[in-house]
Amino acid sequence: MPPQATTVQRDGRSAVVHLRGDLVVPAMGGLYAKLRTVAKRRDVRTLVLDFSGAGRIDSSGIAVVALIGRQLAHHGKKLDLSHMQDQHRAALALSPESTGEPGEPVVTPGFHERFGERVLGLGVGVRVFGRLIAETVRQLAAVVTRRSRIPAGAVRHHIEVMGADAIFIVALLSFLTGMTMAFQGVVQLQRFGAGVFVADMIGMSMVRELVPLMTAVILTGRTGAAIAAELGTMQVRSEIDALSTMGISPVRFLVVPRIVAITVIGPALTLIGIFIGILGGMLVAAGTLGMPPVTFWARVVDEVTLLDFVHGLGKSLVFAWIIGFAGSHLGLRASGDAGSVGTATTRTVVISVFCIILVDAIFATITTLVRHG
């Protein structure tokens, strides 16, 4: 029998609701609305639920009865349950009255609390980061002085994965950047009849600025994110704890090989990128200006000094350390669940790129001041 057949019968100051059919999920929305309407009426002091025609009752039915009972009690009214069968009685024994008060709702912190926590968390983060760097240097010193070892083949493995596998993408992007810069430069410089200076421009911008920066961005996306994800997953799966309890320093075992590898491949990839980038510019200069590659190369060699190389490669080394330490730090601080690994990875990329650009600006300012100041 459909539950819509539930009827309400008035009897003085009480209302009798004759429940019909199963008190289950599909019918409970309608029944709740109907009961509320009846319960709200001022002239109703007692609400009687007559279960004689009721069938099965499920959790939603129990909840509706319990809820209406509480609402009535709140207004000093009464709920009577009549003609209940054993199954109804047993089911209603589950209602919240018999399972105690509802738990305290979780209070979400307000803006000020969240801000304060962020600031405090930042302080802790900086301290932990400092300790990670100090510990890495200490472990590295122990390895260099042969007081301890890093896992055999680990550095080689990381150089392969971080470096060798990234050569193609670094080369391709450097080549395209070199070409694009040359196209732009040729158009602008030719206006002043100075098209030949495109070689100087390409050489200088590739060596000092563009390739170190671009390589660092690629390394961040490929390697920094991978370090954070790897270490984060190991942390979540208790593998880092397992290392610690074996008396093996996780920093020596996991961080040092990665830092050593990225120290090598940051500048190495940059160096490769520089030459490929210049090659890209050279081809464009030959195609648009008819400038012989030998002439182009001669101008580059003339213009770019060893100091420029030191500047570019030195910068790429600092970028590599930023990426390696940010990935390691955030990966090791992941905790709990898979979500924290995702957060660690994302934050590694964002923080690394931010710091790289910041450091790049500092480098540019200092060198300009030194040169002209």
Binding site: S238, M246, I248
Partner: protein
């Protein structure tokens, strides 16, 4: 064990927890050669206590003394030296997913000793046989079952022949037959390697099979300690409820009262 050995682990008035203490005023001793079970319901803090004992979580108060030396007073190197005399099998096996079982189990040997590779391989083969995984050295953790991973974790935790091995829920989530196999392995460990075992668990069957002594944690501290028989007769409702699978405290009090009388 009939003859208790010297004390090799001691917790003195230990409080453990993260921001707030979860367990307070824990005094606990473990003697050489015994198997002690650390019991308690889920979330009572026994795993947190274990993290503090094995050097992963500094205590909020009190001291952990292992082999007569304080775990947290010295430098990290000192702690590492102490930890190398212990082994830990984690609840989530914590095997390195990218390595084979052989590499996993051999890791402490390769990192901390100068043994020749051939000797290390032989040791790993022997240990795999001891835990019931003969011939599986080239499998990776992802390709074996949960029970086998737990065994492999035990093999790794014990490869340096530690004097004291901690197991966090060694048989959690395993079927009774496999769980019994793990218990057997733990007993075999003591018999063949002479290790002392501290097992965190809430599996009654396992406690009765392996443990000489048990400590039950509840309500933020140690609720009871003693041999299994002593604990099973303890009228305290928490202890009684745990040992006789009674959920309702009132019923436990009543039943315990009738036993006591």
């Amino acid at each position: 064990m009939t003859h208790p050995g010297e004390i090799i682990l001691e917790c003195r008035d230990l409080s453990v927890g993260y921001a707030r203490p979860i367990l307070e005023h824990v005094d606990l001793t473990i003697r050489r050669g015994e198997i002690i079970a650390l019991l308690g319901g889920s979330g009572c803090g026994k795993s947190t206590l274990l993290r503090t004992i094995i050097g992963l979580l500094p205590p909020l108060a009190g001291e952990v003394v292992v082999f007569g030396r304080s775990m947290y007073a010295g430098l990290p190197d000192e702690r590492n030296r102490l930890l190398r005399r212990t082994g830990t099998a984690f609840q989530q096996d914590a095997l390195f997913g990218s390595m084979t079982l052989e590499d996993n189990i051999a890791l402490p040997l390769r990192e901390l000793t100068k043994l020749p590779a051939a000797v290390i391989r032989e040791m790993v083969r022997m240990r795999l046989a001891l835990v019931g995984l003969p011939g599986m050295e080239h499998r990776t953790p992802a390709t074996i079952s949960g029970g086998q991973r737990k065994r492999a974790a035990l093999a790794r935790a014990s490869i340096l022949d530690p004097e004291l091995v901690f197991c966090d829920e060694p048989s959690a989530g395993l079927d009774p037959v496999v769980a019994a196999g793990i218990d057997e392995t733990l007993l075999k460990f003591r018999a063949t390697l002479g290790v002392t075992l501290a097992v965190v668990t809430h599996e009654l069957a396992s406690i009765r099979t392996i443990a000489d002594r048990a400590v039950l944690f509840a309500h933020g501290g140690i609720r009871a300690a003693g041999t299994i028989d002593e604990l099973a007769r303890n009228p305290d409702p928490d202890v009684f409820g745990f040992f006789h699978r009674v959920a309702d405290k009132l019923a436990a009090t009543g039943a315990a009262g009738s036993i006591a009388s």
